[in-house]
Symmetry: D2
Subunit: 118 residues, 4 copies
Amino acid sequence: MSDPFKYLHDAMEEFSAERDWDQFHSPKNLAMALTVEAAELQECFQWLTEAQSIELDEKQLTAVRDEIADVQLYLVRLAGKLEIDIEAACRAKMEKNAEKYPADQVKGSAKKCTHYQD
Amino acid sequence: MSDPFKYLHDAMEEFSAERDWDQFHSPKNLAMALTVEAAELQECFQWLTEAQSIELDEKQLTAVRDEIADVQLYLVRLAGKLEIDIEAACRAKMEKNAEKYPADQVKGSAKKCTHYQD
Amino acid sequence: MSDPFKYLHDAMEEFSAERDWDQFHSPKNLAMALTVEAAELQECFQWLTEAQSIELDEKQLTAVRDEIADVQLYLVRLAGKLEIDIEAACRAKMEKNAEKYPADQVKGSAKKCTHYQD
Amino acid sequence: MSDPFKYLHDAMEEFSAERDWDQFHSPKNLAMALTVEAAELQECFQWLTEAQSIELDEKQLTAVRDEIADVQLYLVRLAGKLEIDIEAACRAKMEKNAEKYPADQVKGSAKKCTHYQD
């Protein structure tokens, strides 16, 4: 695990230990908390147009920054509980994605929703 | 930005450029995709007990590892579009959390749902 | 409970009993499943523009119809487990909303994200 | 459309018209808002055990009731925009589910996460 992930992992572990919160941090519960934080992040954008979403004011940016941190922190905590190396998982997934979506075949088309029936 | 975040950021940028997917990657859309991936991660745990969620078999772990990567990759992409430094955001948020939840006051109590009315 | 909600409630109860799925249907788990279905519904729209999202083709509509049903069915199931009358809850919430967002004061402004700091 | 769904549909339409909120209510945005409300509902359960989640106190029940209403109201609004009959969609989906999960074959086994690789 590279440095920043390790730093965040250890900081979260200490934070939880000091509060005796480990009892609540089953992977199931952490996955729930992660989705809740992702939804809070999404909420910041829900009534904005796509164009507005790239031009945030300082108040909006502060909220988004905090929610991005919350998602990252729960992700690190969940991965830690399952002894998953996030960085290695990302490298492996990017390789899978490169095979699944060959650049010359998908160029300019969005990935389709997995729920559309072909 | 420390190395692994920078590495993932640059790899995602190249991946998107090669597929001409930048046109879909407004912060609004990336926030939606992030929540969808978080929900897919959560789905792996939804019918498991908390105890089962820490004892995953290899098939379950593979799925979880992939979904954790998807969440991380969209988070890096979203933060990149808004020029947010994830690591700095996490450090700042952990400081806020330490103030908001003083260890000696909250010890052993879960954070309450923000929707309960006091 | 008015007829369609009661019909759906009873049908779901029978469906679950026949499969011995009641053991998985704690409110916690049903709330997780509900969010997962909401995210699957959202996924159908994530790479579409707002304008495209109102002009779905038949394949997209079929997927959306199925996901809307999944959300509704889990919502009915969850409410049933907690003996909550959905229709009464909606009427009460609409009254609260009417007080919280007086038409003459909020006209034309979107509700702000609850995470922006005033 | 049976009565309660029609009642809620019409009430939401009037509520939005009075506030000039129709401009924000593209199906894409409504799907986002729906997921956010589902996540808020889920948040009420995230640190509870499954056993605790069926034994809510009055404060918790009030929060859950409100969030269930929010999910229902956005679902009705989204379905209305796409002219989808929720009740008909549910009946059709329950038929599909009955075929997909034959009672004698799946009895006692949870549906598997769609992300596990067989």
